[in-house]
């Protein structure tokens, strides 16, 4: 049989299914999803007190495209030799080609089992029930999801404390200048931020820091990152190392098996990386569908990520590398935006990040993204000068 089976009906799996149809695949497409809701966008979950259910595509669109969407079905095993997947009830389904798009799950360190975490719509509903005026909320981890939740909770009137073990929030995802602006804003909004403070024990309603300080909260939310869902792949004998290992066409280590999205580790400009990014999940879903249809081209999409906190939007293109110097492009005409970038030693752009109210940094970050994609050597001093229009670099590159 040449059915295409997709495991995981998230951003990536759904995108891949629709792209396969668009490319003219006429066989059966079976899309298994463990969650019961029509596949939805995750980014809104941390950004509003009453997160909407925003479907990636309407149920009718799946029907129209003849995508056999099996919700509430967890795939239990993959047999790459027999080319079958086994479902919960023991039923099995054979495939011609298989895409694993199982995404990621919230990470928990030992002792955190009773904390709340956020990955699904159901998780968001549970968390938001606790977010109310005067509720005390402890958030362990100063990453994007923790900080977006902090902004949402403090806006809803809760008393919020963020505890980050590292020396600063947002770790290596963005340069220090940007992280500092985010930190200052949270502090100004009344969030208590503790950085550089290791956590000794975490309970459902309290945290003990390694310096002995005790905090009690109505609820503790663990926002300490995500782990790729790789158990199925591991059990099937596929190569897994911080993600299902794939090549530039998102082919895994067994024939006719592919993996993409948050669950995979793929080569980007020669370095294996794993991303947790909505746009990357879409781009990879499209790319892997093309590869499954026989078009093998290297994946060159620049990693791109955004985060909304208060009225601020942060956008990041590329991947910052601690080996390179971070330069500033200044604070914008109104003084309320900030853009930084990195070039490698050859002057090639590596990454850029910007923060500002609304969508004020979007145009510049988009241009930086396109410049990173071009991969041409540039003059960092000129890039740092905000009077130089970035578009002219693009046209010249």
């Amino acid at each position: 049989m040449d059915d295409i089976v997709i495991i995981g009906a998230g951003e990536c799996g759904v995108r891949a299914a629709f792209t396969l149809r668009k490319l003219g695949f006429e066989g059966r497409i079976v899309l298994f999803g463990a969650e019961t809701m029509v596949p939805y966008e995750r980014p809104p979950l941390s950004k509003a007190k009453a997160p909407e259910h925003k479907p990636i595509a309407a149920r009718e669109a799946f029907e129209e495209a003849q995508i056999d969407l099996r919700l509430g079905v967890t795939v239990r095993a993959i047999d790459t030799r027999a080319k079958t997947v086994t479902l919960e009830e023991g039923a099995s389904h054979s495939y011609g080609k298989l895409l694993i798009a199982t995404g990621a799950r919230a990470r928990l360190f030992p002792g955190m089992d009773d904390c709340l975490t956020l990955r699904t719509h159901e998780d968001a509903e549970t968390i938001m029930r606790h977010v109310e005026p005067a509720a005390t909320i402890g958030i362990v981890g100063g990453g994007f999801i923790g900080l977006e939740l902090a902004a949402t909770a403090v806006k809803a009137g809760a008393d919020v404390t963020v505890i980050e073990a590292g020396p600063r929030i947002l770790g290596r995802a963005v340069p220090e200048e940007i992280a500092r602006l985010v930190h200052e804003r949270h502090a100004a909004e009344g969030v208590t931020l503790l950085t550089g403070t290791g956590v000794e024990t975490v309970r459902a309603t309290g945290v003990t820091l390694s310096d002995g300080r005790e905090f009690c909260f109505d609820k503790v939310i663990a926002g300490v990152g995500a782990l790729p869902n790789t158990a199925l792949a591991e059990d099937a004998g596929l190569d897994v190392e911080n993600g299902i290992v794939v090549d530039g066409s998102f082919q895994a280590s067994a024939k006719d098996v592919y993996a993409a999205g948050d669950c995979c580790r793929f080569p980007w400009r020669g370095t294996p990386v794993r991303l947790e990014s909505w746009k990357a999940a879409q781009d990879q879903g499209t790319h892997v569908a093309e590869a499954m249809m026989g078009t093998l081209a290297p994946y060159e999409k620049v990693p791109w990520f955004w985060s909304d906190q208060y009225d601020l939007t942060l956008q990041v293109a590329g991947l910052f590398d601690p080996r390179f110097q971070t330069r500033s492009r200044g604070a914008g005409a109104a003084g309320d935006t900030h853009i930084v970038f990195q070039c490698d030693t050859a002057g090639k752009l590596v990454a850029a990040a910007g923060i500002g109210p609304g969508n004020t940094v979007a145009k510049d970050i988009k241009l930086f993204e396109k410049l990173i994609e071009k991969n041409a050597p540039l003059d960092p001093d000129a890039l740092a000068d905000p009077s130089h229009n970035l578009k002219t670099f693009l046209k010249a590159a």
Binding site: R15, F18, E41, A57, W278, K279, Q282, T286, W304, W306, T313, G358, N359, T360, A362, K363, K366, L367, K370, K391
Partner: protein, 104 residues
């Protein structure tokens, strides 16, 4: 029936760029293409209600500033995920150095 409304002076939109135009409680995006033609669409992205005037114009494409949804601003066509609903377009022209759009 044509209902031409003045947007701005010709030079006020840079080449290959977009501006926001509000009229009568509605909001629009008005574009000047690299070959110096003018176009107009509804102002808000069809994915979420985000104004396109903060987005980047490259050739005939406007990219939404929020999540990279792309539209052909000449036809309003949505060019792929995350946008799937086309933008409404409006005729635009230059007359006597002024940019006008037809709100019908």
């Amino acid at each position: 029936m044509a209902n031409w409304i003045e947007v701005c002076a010709e030079g006020e939109i840079e080449e290959e760029d977009v501006i926001r135009f509000d009229h009568d409680g509605r909001t629009f995006a008005v574009y000047r293409s690299p070959d110096d033609a003018y176009f107009a669409t509804d102002g808000l992205c069809t994915h979420e209600q985000i104004h396109l005037a903060d987005g980047l114009v490259m050739d005939e494409v406007i990219e939404c500033p929020k999540h990279n949804g792309r539209f052909d601003y000449r036809t309003g066509e949505a060019l792929g995920a995350p946008v799937c609903v086309d933008l409404k377009t409006y005729p635009a022209k230059v007359e006597g150095g002024r940019v006008l759009i037809d709100l019908g």
